[in-house]
Subunit: 406 residues, 2 copies
């Protein structure tokens, strides 16, 4: 399966393929849940070029427009560059960025061992940078790719405009090119950059969450949702993000079928649509669950890459989290040590007010931000055994929950 | 640095390079410790061919002679194949293997999450298979590569002959080819295989352990040895095994220099020579330490790959291991969870009777046996951040030991 941004033909293909796969495993029920999704298209090759370097003349940078951005169009635009490390630093600049291209160059903090914490500390510049820069009259933004390695691979990702201000173009450049641009700016304040991008938000499309279910024998009304998101960015293959999570969730149910084990409570594999640039699938799934009066006791998402599982993060009541902690001795036998960190998952977040414990599979995070949202996130980058250990960890936890409740 | 089996020009180059590297970091003392090492040479291309398959005719298998083996010579040899899964199963065969080639096809147990346990359960067939088969009159052995993946990469490794019986050739074949050979044997009992190998044990060579030291300020007589082994097999680059461990040990001392921190006790980085096919470096290091009346309080080895560190294994007195456990809350903050498993390291084992706690860095083991002892174990297979986290983990533990003793 190639890449599959919500609304794309690839996403439609993924919906059909995933449904057929679950049907082939003979789950009790397999169905599609309709959901309208935004449909953004990149529209062409993204170009970022330094045009007047005294040292190097013209320098092409490795770039990818951010998701949901409005492109410059084929004519592109040229502007002087102002570098900042964060949105607070941008705000301090005030009027100085008017008519300029703002270059957000805040690195992920390498001292944080959990790279998701480093990501969390740096991602505002990507998700809100263009909106904030536009308020101050900037004409475009560049952002250092959210990666903890320095190389030439640009990382795309979502951003949200402020509807009250112009939708200025916003592109990520590779960490290596961010370092270069920063060095050149230090020596030459009037450095100019050419931006060209072609992004466009099209009309919404009909798409689907894909759902497969094994019905519980004793308390079928108590549902355990386990899943990942089916959409990916429009580069690479979305293998770690989040093909891995989808396949692991399906694997949990497949293992039940293969073992002939009948769960006491209902287990539902859910492939949510549109996590990357809208979260519509997760929202619609929660809305429908509420409308139908369904009772989710737990929701478990795998959306942190198909790497070595090291535990689960969670959010819920003290009683729920206490129950999870009570299984610690069992889980630690399988090297699932990290059980007390807060967390969950983007797609299961909308279920929160319906009361289930929200749980995230927590894999080793060291290599994730090499691949995340890039051309490098391909099938071959996933290690089969690491992927399987994650699925086994999820199956073990789902087993405990369907047996004992939570 | 390329591959560097003990006694080879590559090993001599590694000795000199490592010494120069530590000198460039300005450690207090850098020196070579002479040690005589065995010198085995592969001598040419290893060939394994099925010669009479009714299904496929001639089939060439991916093979590597095991270390310290005597080759067939250029004429090779041909024989019928008898498959066994283990040495006990071989012994039950008794006379039936006389004049035959014994094919050891015991897989690593995929159900063991720690792959080193699975390796431990399967490696007798590689290390002792030829010796045991020779006792029963076999003319050669093949062994399934010690890998938990199925692919076409053969894994070499050490084996020991029994001096009272003929030194028969012994070669590893890839796991994929082991599966194929087993399938063909199931259908055709008279399957014959051609073996050709060129290994030869040459005369012993002079080589060296390479040692760098930062002297303690308060108790310089108390030594903490931290190291890896400098030699590797003669294929690939020995990057995970054990270039990673060597570089991490040097990094521990380099960090002290960079920070300007002076340890209370003496810290010594040791690159042991000849772990792979003789352990002479580890033995000589321990012998000299005893002769000089040195007092090692701890020895820490990294020889399990440059992957994500997850803890330390150890062996020592209850008091020593209790002291290690008392640092658990500090170490777990850095995701070093696994602190209670028994262990240590091959090169530090000979120090045992001098009383130090023996400690092994314990990295994630899932991917190690893809690379171990193969052409695939190259520089590019090591992730920089994982390697650095391992070095940081070792430095953190060495700091605690030099401050508090153990």
């Amino acid at each position: 399966m190639g890449n599959r941004l919500a609304g794309s033909p690839g996403a439609a293909s993924a919906v059909e393929w995933t449904k057929q796969l679950m049907e082939s495993y003979d789950f009790d029920t397999v169905y599609l849940q309709p959901v309208m999704v935004p449909h953004w298209e990149r529209g062409g090759k993204d170009v970022v070029k330094i045009v007047n370097s005294e040292k190097h003349g013209t320098v092409e940078l490795n770039a990818l427009a951010l998701g949901n951005t409005q492109g410059t169009g084929p004519g592109g635009l040229v502007g002087e560059v102002v570098e900042v490390k964060s949105i607070p630093e941008l705000r301090e600049m005030g009027d100085k960025v008017k008519g300029k291209i703002v270059f957000f160059n805040g690195p992920m903090d390498p001292k944080l061992i959990d790279t998701f914490q480093a990501y969390g500390g740096a991602n505002a510049q990507r998700s809100s940078g263009a909106a904030e820069a536009s308020k101050l009259g900037a004409i475009g933004t560049l952002v250092r790719s959210l990666s903890n390695t320095v190389n030439d691979i640009p990382h795309t990702g979502n951003q949200r405009y402020n509807p009250d201000f112009p939708k200025i173009p916003a592109l990520a450049i590779s960490t290596q090119d961010a370092e270069l641009l920063s060095q050149l700016l230090a020596d030459q304040a009037d450095l100019k950059v050419y931006l060209e991008s072609h992004g466009e938000m099209k009309t919404e499309k009909l798409s689907y969450n894909v759902i497969g279910e094994i019905r519980g024998t004793e308390k079928p009304e108590e549902i355990i949702a386990v899943g990942g998101h089916l959409d990916s960015w429009d580069v690479g293959e979305g293998a770690h993000d989040d093909g891995a999570g989808c396949m692991q969730a399906i694997e949990v149910l497949r293992l039940y079928k293969e073992l002939g084990w009948k769960p006491k409570r209902t287990i539902r594999a859910v492939m949510w649509m549109n996590e990357e640039n809208g979260l519509r699938g997760g929202q619609e799934y929660a809305r429908v669950a509420k409308e139908k009066g369904e009772k989710h006791i737990a929701a478990l998402e795998s959306d942190s890459g198909g790497f070595l599982p090291i535990g689960f993060s969670s959010s819920g009541t003290d009683a729920q989290r206490g129950k999870l902690a009570s299984w610690g001795d069992l889980l630690r036998q399988y090297q699932l040590w990290s059980l007390d960190r807060p967390g969950g998952g983007a797609d299961i977040g909308p279920l929160r007010d319906q009361g289930p414990i929200l749980i995230g599979l927590k894999p080793d995070s060291q290599r994730y931000f090499f691949y995340h949202h890039t051309e490098a996130d391909v099938f071959e980058a996933v290690d089969q055994r690491e992927l399987e250990l994650g699925a086994a960890a999820m199956a073990a936890l789902v087993y405990l929950i369907e047996q004992e409740g939570i």
